[in-house]
Subunit: 527 residues, 2 copies
């Protein structure tokens, strides 16, 4: 019954797409959580420009809405238990905090086990979703018949990539992560001598031992890809794709990679010609906040306000950490606006306002805002850079530790260790960020550079999506390197050949020398 209802929904969705005629027909395959926050920004812009948008989501999605006036939604029914839901982030957070208290060497091995488990959970979730789509011949036929012109994909996990190849559509990525690491790793040369690996906590200036560890991390990530991730999709590839289809090659052949990166924030590193850097595209000028909130902000007087948010995935922190933060806030002369959905801390001061949701961009752009307390999610960091607000970072999960390093080495943020956080640590940290002018001047320099570009990142985003629509792809920007095996790409076949050639030549030379040198000796002896 649910399946029939789902199919009827799909038909009505697809019909509505066919009916609209202006703009391009774009099939959107987003990822959940904070990834969806910024995908929506692009969708709003594309809708304004008259494109027909269809979004595919899983019925187990915890953040992508099931309907919208801006786009048609196809909800794919997922019944398997492998689906990822919001609950996982709470568990991961507890584990992350526990890990941070361990000895470094123990932590490293525990982390590796965790990474394996996490990759399996997320990739099995992606497999359930793409399997549910491809196994449903009615849905796939309808998708084919709709004649989409382009697929806009967040390729963090490969379900969208596989669907784009199945439907043989040009593909634009809205991307930061792919498989098990930063998206550049999939296609741009990434020498471990100056490209820090995901979760290495290194900057791009490494000493010898750091470079050695970074190289090993690079090797591990490739092994994870080959031995953990790829096997998950083996059966699906054999069932639904031509023989010899290879997931890594499919992932590399997107027409345009809209990278959610700006080198004002990230470390400069090798790039490819079909990469377009759109970091900060989700930011916009601050709008007026509600009268109530404005009153609260104005009541801070000359001291101003501190804004704190830990993003959409982490709704609550462990009690002892919350109490430490709340009691430190209570000792500040500033007012505090804190996005928090957990139990109300007992030590909360009168100067602190707890909210379920806050207009983060507008508050960061408010002239009274003195500092931003964040977990180090990418969206929040770009908003802080856009508005030039210094940051106190308490990284918790995923890439947040790497993000923290990037802002810290530029002098624009102070980073605190959350697992051992005390009220005094937090108070000292937040006072430092508010009072020490170097944080503000550093992030304002970054802000100035971030704004100084020929066209805005959002305009650039839309331009390149429409470019692929107009030109039916961007084949000429794709290097044949995308389909080279790794040993060919790194010239290992040529090097082996040359090495064998040199060894044989040396052997021949040595043998000849021996023959020539030994004979006269024998002769001499004979003489």
């Amino acid at each position: 019954m649910g399946l029939i209802a789902n199919r009827l929904l799909c038909i009505s969705c697809l019909l509505s797409v066919v009916v609209c005629s202006s703009g391009g027909k774009i099939l959107v395959f987003p990822e959940d959580g904070s990834h969806w926050v910024n995908m929506q920004v692009i969708l709003r812009e594309l809708h304004t420009r008259g494109h027909n948008l269809t979004v595919i989501r899983s019925s187990r999605s915890f953040y992508i809405q099931g309907s919208s006036p801006l786009y048609t939604v196809i909800t794919v029914n997922i019944t398997q238990t492998e689906a990822v839901d919001a609950g996982i982030f709470g568990t991961l957070l507890q584990r992350s905090i526990a890990l941070r208290k361990m000895m470094p060497i123990v932590r490293f091995f525990e982390q590796q086990k965790d990474v394996k488990k996490m990759l399996q959970i997320f990739h099995n979730g992606a497999l359930s979703l793409i399997s549910a789509i491809l196994d449903d011949s009615f849905l796939t036929r309808q998708l084919q018949d709709t004649k989409f012109e382009l697929m806009l994909v967040d390729p963090a996990f490969p379900a969208g990539v596989l669907l784009a190849h199945y439907l043989q559509l040009p593909m634009v990525y809205n991307v930061r992560w792919l498989n098990a690491g930063e998206a550049h790793m999939a296609i741009a040369p990434s020498p471990p001598s100056f490209v820090p690996m995901y979760n290495s906590l290194f900057s791009d200036r490494m000493d010898f031992l750091q470079r050695a560890e970074n190289s090993l991390r690079y090797l591990f990530s490739r092994l994870q890809e080959h031995f953990i991730i790829l096997p998950i999709y083996d059966k699906l590839l054999k069932t639904h794709f031509p023989p010899g289809s290879d997931l890594l090659t499919m992932q590399r052949t997107a027409d345009i990679w809209l990278m959610r990166i700006d080198f004002v924030f990230d470390f400069p590193r090798p790039s490819m010609p079909n990469f377009v850097y759109i970091g900060g595209f989700q930011c916009r000028q601050a709008q007026a906040i509600s009268a109530e909130l404005e009153d609260f902000v104005q009541s801070s007087g000359e001291h101003g306000v501190v804004v704190m948010s830990f993003g959409v995935m982490v709704t609550a922190l462990p009690k002892e950490i919350t109490e430490a933060i709340a009691s430190a806030f209570a000792r500040l002369p500033q007012k505090v606006i804190w996005r928090y959905m957990g139990e109300r801390p007992s030590s909360l001061g009168n100067n602190t306002l707890l909210l379920d949701w806050l207009p983060q961009n507008d508050l960061l752009g408010h002239p009274k805002t003195r500092a931003f307390v964040s977990h180090g999610g990418t969206n929040g960091i770009y908003e802080a850079i856009y508005h030039g607000v210094p940051v106190l970072l308490l990284p918790l999960l995923f890439d947040q530790f790497d993000n923290a390093i990037r802002l810290e080495v530029r002098g624009a943020a102070r980073v605190l260790e959350v697992s051992t956080l005390t009220s005094n640590d937090f108070l000292e940290g937040i006072e430092d960020v508010i009072k020490n002018p170097s944080y503000r001047s550093s992030i304002q320099k970054l802000s100035q550079l971030h704004h100084d570009r020929p066209i805005s990142p959002l305009k650039s985003t839309v331009f390149w999506i429409e470019y692929v629509l107009r030109n039916k792809g961007a084949q000429h920007l794709q290097s044949p390197a995308n389909s080279l095996p790794w040993y060919t790409y790194h010239c290992l076949d040529v090097l082996s050949f040359l090495l064998v050639f040199i060894l044989v030549a040396l052997w021949v030379l040595v043998t000849l020398c021996r023959l020539l040198c030994c004979r006269p000796k024998r002769k001499q002896k004979a003489d």
Copy 2:
């Protein structure tokens, strides 16, 4: 006396720079010949935007004018015989044609000798120029006192780069070539598995043997750099720069690299975040040509015209080639406009107009133009792409052979071998380009893609020059990789360390096994 006059000229130049106050103070260090053609386009634009421009040229320059209403010129007196003059191109052309007639293996070794000689000639020329500047303490002090804000440099040879470092100025490159190869090679990862080397005549799709040859060419080019080019500047570096100064590091640390490349024409390959691709920035919409020329063009009727030019460096071709081309032209129904300064060919037809100079861009943009016959210089190729005119290529020197491959594999040009050219070959070639619609449709597809960009390449050029002026550099876009030694960059130190570690571990393991395995055996025997 000449020296005093030169100094007085310098003083007046510099004073005039100091007097002007609007815009930025930019010191320009161009290269000669066709490089100067496109540098001028940028200077005109910068002048229009109110910047103060000072151009440094050698007194032996054969193409950079000694004065201009748009910019101040400093002419540096060069008396050494090493200076490069225009005559060299005639000699090089004769040699190139002779080489093309040799057996491939003989040609390869002859070419290597030529490359060495040519590098020495050009780099000694650059050394004379920068030595003349740095040895003149009066001139250098004046340059320092003028407080330039930026140096705009064509870094094909390193005189400008050295001066920028001497004056400690932010540096923007207008660049395609550097030292002995394509400019990317100096800083962007360039795996020889898919990045064809200069003069290899390979595309980016190579078979195993081509990749092996390409890898060897890569190795040779690095060796040339270390053993031919770098020693030329050793003494100068010791005299005028702090100890430990390294030319390659200096070359890599330009703030912005304005690359005269568009991937519509060139093969996609790894890039760096401070590379801005401006290929085709010199092209512009066609203007009306002179009435006389227009009459000639219109007289071609429906057949249209063929435009031929071999650029600014090659003024004349060997007689037998000129005659072959002229007699083939005479057999065409089209009219021909040929830029040619040599002896008038005896077989020239009535349909062919010889000119000392022609408005190439405007003729290529004329609706009557059916084909362009070119040597494959970059400027001409971009104009052909801009206006969508199919090309017949007769590459003669330098990068022209590589340019030809790029246009040929895209189906937008036919390439002929000039050393063995007959009249019939040429006629068949030009008729093919005019009559076969695939050349026109291919280059028009390239043209459409070339025009489809968020901002024009010339606007982009000016934006990034002014960006460096505004921000006093673009340090944040520079990777620390720029100053890593090559073995560290390629992780060879880490790999060696890990290899030794593994070997020692294996040795320990084997030794332990032997000890453990041997003892029981003895015991057994004893039993």
